[in-house]
């Protein structure tokens, strides 16, 4: 058997079972015996998992910034196109419908 530390106890890696830190639990007693034989459990997170978690957090921050930037840029582009088409008096019907729907939705926002 091999084990990995977990915030709720131990994970037995062979079957991913959660073993509680409880000296009345048979599996935990077996774990203590395993440790007493000189074995060491894996840490809760490996260096690779720590690195993966950092990357995931960085990605989340980047995604949020990108989403905000995209929202701003999309709004600016839309406003530019509307202004241009209105000036040209040649605004496509589809864009007119979308703009009308957007105006309607804006009126619902308190």
């Amino acid at each position: 058997m091999t084990y990995k530390l977990n915030k709720n106890g131990l994970i037995r890696l062979e079957d991913k079972a959660l073993i509680p830190v409880n000296t009345d639990n048979f599996d935990y007693i077996q774990y203590l015996k395993w440790v007493s034989e000189g074995n060491i459990p894996e840490p809760e997170f490996t260096q690779e998992e720590i690195a993966t978690n950092i990357i995931a957090e960085d990605n989340l921050v980047a995604k949020t910034k990108l989403l905000n930037s995209d929202n701003v840029s999309i709004r600016l582009i839309r406003e530019f196109l509307i202004a241009k088409f209105k000036a040209d008096k040649d605004m496509p019907q589809q864009l007119l419908d979308i703009e009308a729907a957007a105006i309607l939705e804006r009126t619902k926002i308190k």
């Binding site: 977990n6 709720n8 106890g9 994970i11 037995r12 079957d15 991913k16 079972a17 959660l18 073993i19 509680p20 409880n22 009345d24 639990n25 048979f26 599996d27 935990y28 077996q30």
Partner: protein, 366 residues
């Protein structure tokens, strides 16, 4: 005549008790002595190539040596029983080392020996009775030890005819010394020896041994030494007193609940743990790649202590959850386990908005 009887009875009642002690239930300290409950394997064979593996509920296999055997619930029975347990040698150990042992055992929780007064001058004698059938005749080893194995009662019983059901009884003297646990922990272990090295045996003198780790008796059959040897046992009863009474057959539902104090699963009875089935699954909805809502589970029976929790996908894969079509599968381990249930499942690789199926098994065996 109808009416209401009221008042106080202050007299003496005399008469003859016409019942039988055999009709009084609750005598048997052994759980699943009729070998009917097999939640883990449900009649599927388990190969014993390591020590302390569990198959039928409450029954523990012991193995320290190079020999291997299998264990399975069997329908080969004596009259009055539906099941027995069958052990079969798959790899013989022809030369048992002094520290080897092979046995079928059951551990007794301390709360179930309260009242026996073991360790006190008022200790009560016990009698163990069982039906046994083996392919090899001779004197077989039996032992009872306390949890620390500092006290042991070595005994023997004889199988006279091969492949024939025989009824055996052994009386165990009340033990007035030693430390006997009366809490939820292991108090005692009963050993039906199938080959025990001399380090762990003492003569069967009908008395308790103070030699540590006395698990059985000298000069007993080394059943494990013969390839394909078989050993059946059922109707196991351990009771107070020096007389073996008829088997205490408890209702199946009661026996199952006694077993579930030590092991419970989400699957139906009759379905092996880890099977591919959606019947009995718990469900949860993923709200992100790592979080779910709804993954909370209560046990039917409070566990002896906080159990070990295993998770299975409904397709039978260990440690995953899946959506009903098994198109989305995510790694899963239990969270926040306690005596009454567990409250969450830690998972990675979820798909938000997807519902996940999962089975579980909770093990608090001693």
């Amino acid at each position: 005549m109808t009416g209401t009887l009221s008042g106080n009875f202050n007299g003496n009642m005399t008469g003859t008790f016409t019942g039988s002690i055999a009709n009084i239930s609750g005598r048997n300290i052994i759980i699943n002595g009729a070998m009917e409950i097999d939640q883990r394997k449900e009649g599927v064979s388990l190969s014993i190539a390591a020590d302390q593996l569990m198959s039928l509920d409450r029954w523990r296999t012991r193995r320290n040596g190079t020999g291997n055997y299998s264990i399975i619930r069997s329908t080969e029975v004596p009259a009055g029983f539906l099941n027995s347990v069958l052990l079969t040698v798959t790899t013989a150990d022809a030369s048992i080392a002094t520290t080897d042992y092979y046995a079928l055992t059951q551990r007794i929780e301390g709360t179930n020996i309260r009242g026996l007064d073991f360790g006190l001058s008022t200790a009560k004698s016990l009698t163990v009775s069982f039906w046994v059938r083996a392919s090899i005749t001779g004197n077989y080893s039996f032992g009872l030890t306390n949890a620390a194995a500092t006290r042991g009662f070595p005994a023997q019983y004889t199988i006279n005819s091969a492949n024939t059901w025989e009824y055996k009884t052994i009386t165990i003297l009340g033990e007035t010394t030693g430390t006997w646990v009366t809490t939820i922990s292991n108090a005692a272990e009963l050993w039906w020896g199938l080959g025990i090295g001399t380090t762990y045996t003492e003569p069967a003198t009908g008395a308790w041994s103070s030699v540590s780790n006395t698990l059985g008796t000298d000069s007993s059959v080394n059943w494990i030494s013969t390839n394909a040897a078989t050993f059946h046992i059922t109707g196991v009863q351990l009771e107070v007193g020096t007389v073996a009474t008829p088997f205490d057959r408890r209702p199946f539902a009661v026996e199952l609940e006694l077993c579930q104090r030590y092991y419970e699963k989400s699957y139906n009875i009759g379905v092996m743990t880890g099977s591919s089935t959606a019947l009995g699954v718990s469900t949860a909805v993923a709200i992100s790649t790592t979080s779910t809502h709804g993954a909370s589970h209560s046990f039917k029976v409070r566990k002896r202590t906080t159990p070990t929790i295993s998770i299975f996908g409904h397709t039978g894969t260990v440690a995953v959850w899946s959506d009903p079509a098994a198109a989305n599968t995510a790694a899963a381990t239990a969270n926040n386990a306690c005596e009454t249930g567990f409250s969450n499942v830690t998972s990675t690789g979820l798909t938000a908005g997807v519902g996940y199926y999962g089975h579980w098994a909770a093990d608090s065996e001693i």
